[in-house]
Amino acid sequence: MSRDVASLVDTLAEIVGPGHVRTALPERVTYAKDGLPTHRRVPGVVVLPGSRDEVIAVVRLLGALGMPFVPRGAGTGLSGGALADGDAVLIVLTRLNRILKIDARNRLAVVEPGVVNIRLSAAAAPHGLQYTPDPSSQTACTIGGNVAENAGGPHCLKYGVTATHVLALEVALADGRVVELGSPGGEPWGPDLVGLFVGSEGNFGVATRITVRLLPVARAVRTLLADFTSLRTAGEAVSAVIASGIVPAALEMMDQSCIRAVEDSVYAAGYPRDAAAVLLAELDGGHEVAVAADAETIESVLRAHGARSVRVAADAQERERLWLGRKKAFGAMGRLSRDLVVQDAVVPRSTLPDVLETIARIAAEYGLTVSNVFHAGDGNLHPNISFDGRTPGLRERVEAASAEIMATCIAAGGTITGEHGIGLDKLRYMPLLFDGDSLAAMRAVRRVWDPDERVNPGKVVPVHACREWAGTRNAERGTRNARGNARSDFRVATSGLDT
């Protein structure tokens, strides 16, 4: 360890305590990946502050040193977004896990960024309230990570993604200055900087305090499982449900490969194994009679559009079982192969039937197993590629197939990510979606918040594809994407483990 690094580590330890700075390689390696297995970076130093003040002090220190850093929550992300290189400090926020306030009268909560998503709903439940964004990883992922990625989840179809629910933020900027964005009532102080911050993937600073909206827990719920003998018919039924004018709380689809993986696992939910696809639809609301009527309408729509059968969960236990299968589908797919790439793209809902067929064709052409489990009501696809990364040449095939799937979604009028973010994984697709001026605008906005591009460097905007922009041209150094303008003479050896 060089003198520079030793000095940094000592100062960090003074701020957060020696037990909360990780420098040993085996410790740092545990932070080398997120939920996506295809990217791996070993951070130079890992620091785990325990309070807002410690976060600000750490960020100020790194700002004074001009060092890059990466904020990270629970590391459940699926885009390589919270990985740090050897020359960067990883700031892990999981110790900031306090729910600071639940204001039931005004239906809001104030939390620290490391609060686990599901804990907030549990804490709000005694007040008859809930925090509605429910990513599949909600038992582990943090609200801070959700804010960074603008996370979604099945019930975002009706209730909206994270951005809909964030009212105000306290943010530590790259140099440690603290800014307050938004207001508890949701009206911004000026332009909507909360809306801009949410989904910025950590590039604009570290959220140290988050105010979110809570909604009443639905008093009535109906969960329906419809099964189909073809994927196309199931896709067509999705459009029919949306066009019915009734917005389900959730409308999820699983294909046969996924159904069988779930049914072979401990999460077996009773999905029909011979179905080409199932749709899981949930209706909820404040009135039993209205929800029951809407559920009947949706059942009729599903039957009229090719459902072989429609099963309505008889009780809460059955509903939970049906949902457990869906929520644990990614885990169940771990049975299919050693590695799993969870993809994320969105298409116009009416194109689902065609796009699903094209994805199946791409999978066949590349000889890969692709399972689909996704938020059909939003057109938010998750084609998941199961593979064994040890097989020579297979990773390249997975990459090539992923690229074709992304191109297919863009050609259908869609986008390359609906909730997982760009991170490292989707960087190369950004120029397919945005022209040079639009990418340059994003980069210029980022530099307003972080002039040296030190916070989570190398993510979201592919610098090489940006057209020149006033204000950035003089600072441009032609650096590779992973750097920005941050100092880069700090690097901790990783014994060749970096990929």
């Binding site: 004018g245 404040g286 057109g379 006033a470």
Partner: protein, 403 residues
């Protein structure tokens, strides 16, 4: 070459309306997003100061400028996709025309902004002026899938897209919504639609403000979730007393159940309005704000609504008020001096409540600013964003009070 000759050479004779504005500022109406980019690129080179206009029915067309850029000829609706519940519209299309075309396709944009029916979509997005339906369907930003805008130096920037979920890149769409044009001229928007509600029922109750405030609390406590839930001042509602109007929209079963719930929670005091009465009530209230010289909105917490109404009554009067007590949003209309407006903003800021000036003559806008009383650290960010999107300060927008 004069400014007008230069513009004619760039965009053609038909793009220029000479002396069409009351203050004699030449009005230029580009017919495409590219033409807007060309014009603003030239404005940057020439140092022209540009004011942005839509239909001219909301913000007065009175900012001092070298030319007025109107989006009126950007009036196409390139796509309405009922199956996807999305639409793409150019910024200069009037809301009334868009609404009609959407209805023809069985779809609905769940926004009821203040102002005249022909307000442009671009104006509504740029000012983020949502109406009572924000209670059930959210603020303007929640209805946007993407925008295309042109910066002050003539760059065409695309943000978001046509699909209902999208986290590719930073959310410049939300930044543009409510920026009053400080970060660019919005030329195209992608909208999230809803299916036309099968049932749409408005119920109303007249009474004292105190009584109706209590009723509003009872409604919220009963878990009733209306599409709109608005407390209107007598002048705004054109009634003798204050009016609490509740609107339900959705499936017939839902609306019937909510209506029954409302009657149960309030002792059956509400009167159901006929469809035409309900439509007329909401439309007249929206239009009333276009007849007052000044309008602003404030966003507090639900439990402070009554206190905020008292404060407004005391400082600027309460003749023209529309409040959503369940979400703490209040719109005020009327006339007020610069000093009074500044004072009410300062007072509200002390209560952690932002005030956004939505509409006022230029002398008031420039002295008060659409925004003000920024929280810690926000001012430098806003200034940086303005330099980023308008490096030559071409746009005449009173984002903040003039120094």
């Amino acid at each position: 070459m004069s400014l007008l000759d230069r513009v004619r050479a760039l965009l053609g004779d038909e793009a220029v309306e000479v002396a069409a504005t009351p203050d004699g500022v030449p009005r230029v109406a580009p017919a495409s997003p590219d033409a807007v980019a060309l014009l603003l690129g030239t404005a940057r080179e020439e140092g022209w100061r540009v004011r942005i206009e839509g239909a001219g029915s909301w913000l007065p067309a009175d900012a001092p400028a070298d030319l007025a850029l109107t989006t009126r000829r950007l009036d196409k609706i390139p796509a309405i996709e009922p199956q996807d519940l999305s639409a793409t519209a150019e910024a200069g299309i009037g809301c009334d025309l868009l609404r009609q075309q959407l209805a023809d396709r069985g779809t609905w944009l769940a926004l009821d902004p203040p102002g005249l029916a022909g307000r442009t979509v671009g104006s509504i997005v740029a000012t983020a002026t949502a109406g009572p339906l924000r209670q059930g369907f959210g603020p303007v930003r929640d209805h946007l899938l993407g925008v295309t805008f042109v910066t002050g130096d003539g760059r065409l920037v695309h943000s978001g897209g046509r699909v209902v979920k999208n986290v590719a890149g930073y959310d410049l769409t939300r930044l543009e919504a409510g920026a009053f044009g400080a970060f660019g001229v919005i030329v195209l928007v992608h909208l999230r639609l809803r299916a036309l509600p099968r049932a749409d029922q408005t119920l109303a109750l007249e009474g004292s403000r105190e009584d109706l405030t209590q009723v509003a609390e009872d409604i919220a406590a009963a878990g009733i979730q209306p599409a709109a839930h608005e407390l209107m001042s007598p002048a705004l509602a054109r009634r003798e007393r204050w009016l609490l109007a509740v609107r339900f929209a959705g499936s017939a079963a839902l609306v019937a159940a909510e209506e029954a719930g409302l009657r149960a929670a309030t002792g059956g005091r509400f009167a159901a309005l006929r469809a035409d009465e309900g439509h007329s009530l909401w439309m007249r209230a929206a239009e009333s704000f276009a007849t007052r010289p000044v309008a602003f909105r404030i966003g507090g917490l639900p439990d402070s609504s009554d206190e905020l109404l008292d404060l407004l009554q005391h400082q600027v009067g309460d003749e023209w008020i529309s409040a959503s007590p369940a979400i703490g949003a209040i719109r005020w209309g009327g006339d007020a001096t610069i000093d009074r407006l500044k004072r009410v903003r300062r007072t509200l800021a002390g209560l952690e409540v932002p005030l956004t000036l939505e509409r006022a003559p230029w002398p008031v806008r420039s002295a008060v600013g659409h925004f003000g009383a920024y929280r810690e650290g926000v001012g430098p960010l806003v200034a940086g964003l303005r330099r980023t999107f308008d490096p030559g300060e071409a746009f005449v927008v009173a984002a903040e009070a003039a120094e």
